[in-house]
């Protein structure tokens, strides 16, 4: 376990993330241009989709159907469990609980990539169809949590004589359209489709850009993530001790569930580890705008701090090796 932790801590990804946090702590003027951030995230998502598509072209439907089923199941279970814990134990408001649950139901692409890199580095690479599972998990988690929030709010306002000035909730069709046509979804799914269509032969000429440069550019992106997480550290006090514990314990519960379901679906140790990480991770690209638009009463300080300043660093540093150890035990 310690060896695994050491490998993870000494990766350029973790260290450049730490550098970003450090830069914020010492109040350095270091900042990445916003356009570079946007450019890098487009590159990473597209590369992930393309590579996943090429790998997917080697997989059969029989191979992927079990893992796909448990992934969708996770997408439904994790937002519900997160919502219940926040609402019942944490006593958060309906909007705040649903807003945070949407982040934990969805998946963080960068944490996913870090898990992929980790299992490769310890010699247990995951199945090639993992990026397909990533796209499957991205949407339902957000949708389920937003639906819980919207229905609960509607029920509450009915029982307490809705006031006439209340703004009507946004139609679900609109929200679904936004999520399905969002940047991350379009690039991931579009990349997958292109990857499957061009196959190995079409992949070869573009491989130097999308695979050769991938780790280096990811390292720069992690620096930016560190800066973003570092600037949220001040909000930890506002988030409170419950959210701090939630941001660490909920991922472990979801990660264990993910690893168990993965092993039930017959996945490899590497595959289980990555699936567990997906279940444990909290989205901070797709979820924040969706929650902001749909549940504007939810406090962004809570969900952004939990996803970005607590859960993301925890998964990056300790979570992924823990899910690996859990997967090793479950898969044997």
């Amino acid at each position: 376990m310690l060896d695994v932790l050491r490998i993870n801590l000494c990766s350029p990804l973790t260290l450049s993330f730490a550098l970003g946090v450090f830069a914020r702590l010492v109040r350095s003027e270091l900042a990445l241009p916003r356009d570079l951030y946007t450019g890098l995230s487009i590159y990473l998502l597209f590369a992930l989709g393309l590579k996943g598509g090429v790998e997917l072209s080697h997989s059969s439907l029989a191979e992927i159907s079990g893992p796909a089923f448990v992934t969708v199941l996770l997408g439904v279970l994790t937002p519900v469990s997160a919502y219940l814990v926040l609402r019942r134990l944490g006593k958060f408001s309906v909007s705040d609980s649903a807003g945070i649950a949407a982040h934990y139901g969805s998946v963080s692409a960068v944490t996913f990539i870090a898990a992929q890199q980790f299992v490769t580095s310890v010699g247990a690479p995951a199945e090639g169809f993992m990026p397909t599972l990533l796209t499957l998990l991205e949407i339902p988690g957000i949708q389920v949590a937003l639906a819980i929030g919207a229905f609960q709010l509607a029920a509450d306002s009915k029982s307490s004589e809705a006031d006439e000035n209340a703004v009507p909730p946004r139609p679900f069709k609109e929200i679904l359209h936004e999520l399905l046509t969002s940047r991350s979804m379009l690039l991931l799914v579009g990349g997958l489709v292109i990857g499957v269509a061009v196959g190995e032969a079409g992949w070869k000429p573009v491989q130097p850009v999308f695979e050769g440069l991938f780790k280096g550019l990811l390292t720069i992106f992690l620096l930016e993530m560190g800066l973003a997480a570092g600037s949220r550290l001040g909000d930890l006090k506002k988030a409170g001790i419950f959210l701090l514990a939630f941001g660490i314990l909920m991922p472990i519960v979801h990660g264990t569930l993910g690893a168990w379901l993965g092993s039930m679906a017959g996945m490899s140790i590497g595959g289980c580890t990555v699936l567990a990480t997906m279940a444990a991770s909290a989205s901070y690209i797709a979820a924040p705008p969706a929650v902001r638009m749909t549940l504007p009463e939810a406090n962004p300080t809570y969900y952004l701090t939990a996803a970005l300043a607590i859960t993301f660093p925890f998964n990056l540093v300790a979570g992924i090796p823990i899910y690996f150890e859990i997967s090793k035990r479950l898969c044997h």
Partner: protein, 100 residues
């Protein structure tokens, strides 16, 4: 040179509202608009866009009726729950027919 008195509506809002605001401006009857990225701080402080961009500043020159209609839409849909400010100023423009 002959100028015409019109209203300049300026809206500064969190950037995730950009597409919705554009739709609202069109619905209100504006003939055109300008959008720029903006940074700043207000009573609601942090934006969700900390990682995706902060604010947008939308400007449109319209007739008084359209301006009031637009402010009505903004106050019904956004003021209570989002970080949005909007204000009117009188401007003198040439080619006034372009805007109404």
């Amino acid at each position: 040179m002959k100028t015409v008195q019109l209203c300049l509506v300026t809206v500064i809002a969190e950037s995730i509202l950009k597409e919705r605001l554009i739709q609202d401006v069109r619905d209100a009857g504006a003939r055109g608009f300008t959008i720029t990225d903006a940074d700043g701080e207000g009573s609601r402080q942090r934006r969700v866009g900390a990682i995706l961009g902060a604010n947008v500043r939308l400007e449109t020159i319209v007739s008084k009726e359209v301006a009031e209609h637009l402010l009505g839409i903004l106050s019904a849909e956004y003021f209570e729950r989002f970080a949005v400010i909007a204000y009117l100023s009188d401007v003198s423009v040439i080619r006034g027919e372009k805007y109404v």
